[in-house]
Symmetry: D2
Subunit: 141 residues, 4 copies
C-alpha cells in the first residue's frame, strides 16, 4: 500500500533543503501532523567506527518532526526548532534510515513533537533513536 | 596564541570520521576534558531558508562533546553518546561554526558533557546553540 | 477491571520513599517494564497561579519511569536516574495525577524510559506532560 | 557580603507558591536574569535510599530558572515552563539545596535558561545537577 502523497508545500520546502539533497533523503509522507523521511546510510556520513553518524540520525529526526509540525499550520507559516533531545537506542547500521515525526500537541505558541528513527536492513527494521522536542510557529522572515 | 596541539589519539579518531571530512571540519584542540572543532557553514548543508542546518550544529556540538569526554579516558577506551539535548539560540549564519565541548562530570559509568556552538562571521562570534548530554565509556568493539 | 498487583519488591521500595508518602501517592501497577502511580493534586504543592507545581508532575513521572525500569531487573539491583527531560503540555488542574512509565530499551548499562503524566478531573483524563530519560542499573550501595 | 534584595514582584510570586512553603524554600536573590533559592534537604521528601528526591532537586532548579526569566520581563508578564532537562551529577545529601538559575537568551517568544543545583553540607558545596530549559513569556490568565 502506498503512503498518501505529501503536502505539496512541504514537498517544496523539503526540495529547498540542500542538507536533504546532500543526504539523498526522500520525503515519503507529510500531512495531518505526521511526516516520514527515508535516506540511505551513506559511507560519507559515518562516525569513527563506521556506523552512521549520530548527527545524521538527529538531522533526519529533526526534519521529520519539523515537517510534521508544519503540516498542521496554515500555508503562510514557518516553524523553528526551539529545542530537541535525542536518546540513542542502537547504532545506525544497515541500508536506510527511516525517520517518523508525529505532533503530540499543537499549541498556538508552541508545538511538541516526537520522532523515532529506524535503521532498515533488508527485511529488518530496528528503532535506533527517540526524539522529543519543541517547535515555534512563526511568520516567514 | 595557539591552542595546544590535540591529543594524537583523538586526531586519529577524528580523521576516521567520514562525516567530519564531508563537513570539512578541523580539530582545533582536544585534551583535558575539552575539545574545539571548527567547520565552514557550507551551502550543501542548509535548511529551507538557507541557514546552516540545525542537524550540522548538533553534529558538531555532539562531536566536540564526545571528544572532550574521550580525552579524559585511558587510551584503549571508546565513548558512546547516550543522549543529547540541544537548545537553539540563533540561526547558523556566517562563515564558520565553532563547537566547544567541556566535561562537567567524569564518572566511571557516565560522563556528563556540555557544549556550545558559535557562528563566526568576520570578527563577530555569536552563540547559536547550547547542548547538554550523557556519554558512556565503553571497551572498543 | 483491576490492574495486576504491583511487584512486591517495588511496593517495598515505594513505601520507603518519604516523598511518595508526602504526596499521598499510590502505586497502582508495577511489572514487566511498566509502572502506574496516582496522587491527588494537593493544595500544598502548587505554583503561584494555583496549578499543581511542575516539580510534582516531574517527580511522579520520574518515579513511575524509575520503577518501570526496576521492574525488569533482578531482585538485588537498584536504578539511578541519569537524566530526564519533561515537555509540559497543559497545566495540572483537577483531582489527581496519573503517571505512567514504560521502558523503551533495557540495555545492560543504560535503560531508556518514557513516561506520560495525566490530570484526572471527574470523568476526564488529559495528558499534561511527556518525559524521556535514562536510567542506570547499579548494585545497591 | 549580602546578595542584593530580590525583586519585590518575584518575592510576592514566590510567597504565593504553596510548593515553596512546603519545601521551606527561601528566595535569596532575584534580578537581572539570575535567581538563587535555598531549601533544607528535608526527611519528608526523600527517595527510597534516604537521599533528597530528584523531583525536589528538579523543582528547585525549575523555580530558580523560572524566576531568573521572570526577572527580565515587564511587571505585567508571567512565564510558563515549556520544557526542562536535568542531568544528575551526585546524590542530594547534606543540609541544604542551593539552586541558581541564569538566563542564557531572552527572546520575545522564548527564553532559554540554565540552572545548577548544589548540595551544601557544613562548609562544602557540591554540584548535584545541571538543568537546561525553555520558558515562554505570557500574559497573565
Amino acid at each position: 500500500m502506498n503512503s498518501p502523497a505529501p503536502d505539496p508545500r512541504i514537498e517544496a520546502s523539503f526540495a529547498q533543503q540542500s542538507m536533504m539533497r546532500s543526504l539523498q533523503a526522500r520525503l515519503i509522507e507529510a500531512g495531518g501532523g505526521r511526516c516520514v523521511i527515508r535516506a540511505p546510510i551513506l559511507p560519507a556520513f559515518c562516525q569513527q567506527q563506521g556506523f552512521g553518524h549520530g548527527g545524521i540520525t538527529f538531522a533526519l529526526g529533526d526534519t521529520a518532526a519539523g515537517y510534521a509540525a508544519l503540516s498542521l499550520l496554515p500555508a503562510e507559516r514557518e516553524v523553528l526548532t526551539a529545542e530537541l533531545k535525542i536518546n540513542y537506542l542502537a547504532p545506525a547500521t544497515g541500508d536506510e534510515f527511516e525517520a517518523i515525526g508525529e505532533v503530540v500537541r499543537a499549541g498556538r505558541r508552541l508545538m511538541v513533537v516526537r520522532a523515532e528513527v529506524f535503521a532498515l536492513a533488508g527485511e529488518s527494521r530496528r528503532s535506533i533513536a527517540l526524539l522529543l522536542g519543541t517547535w515555534c510557529p512563526v511568520e516567514p522572515a
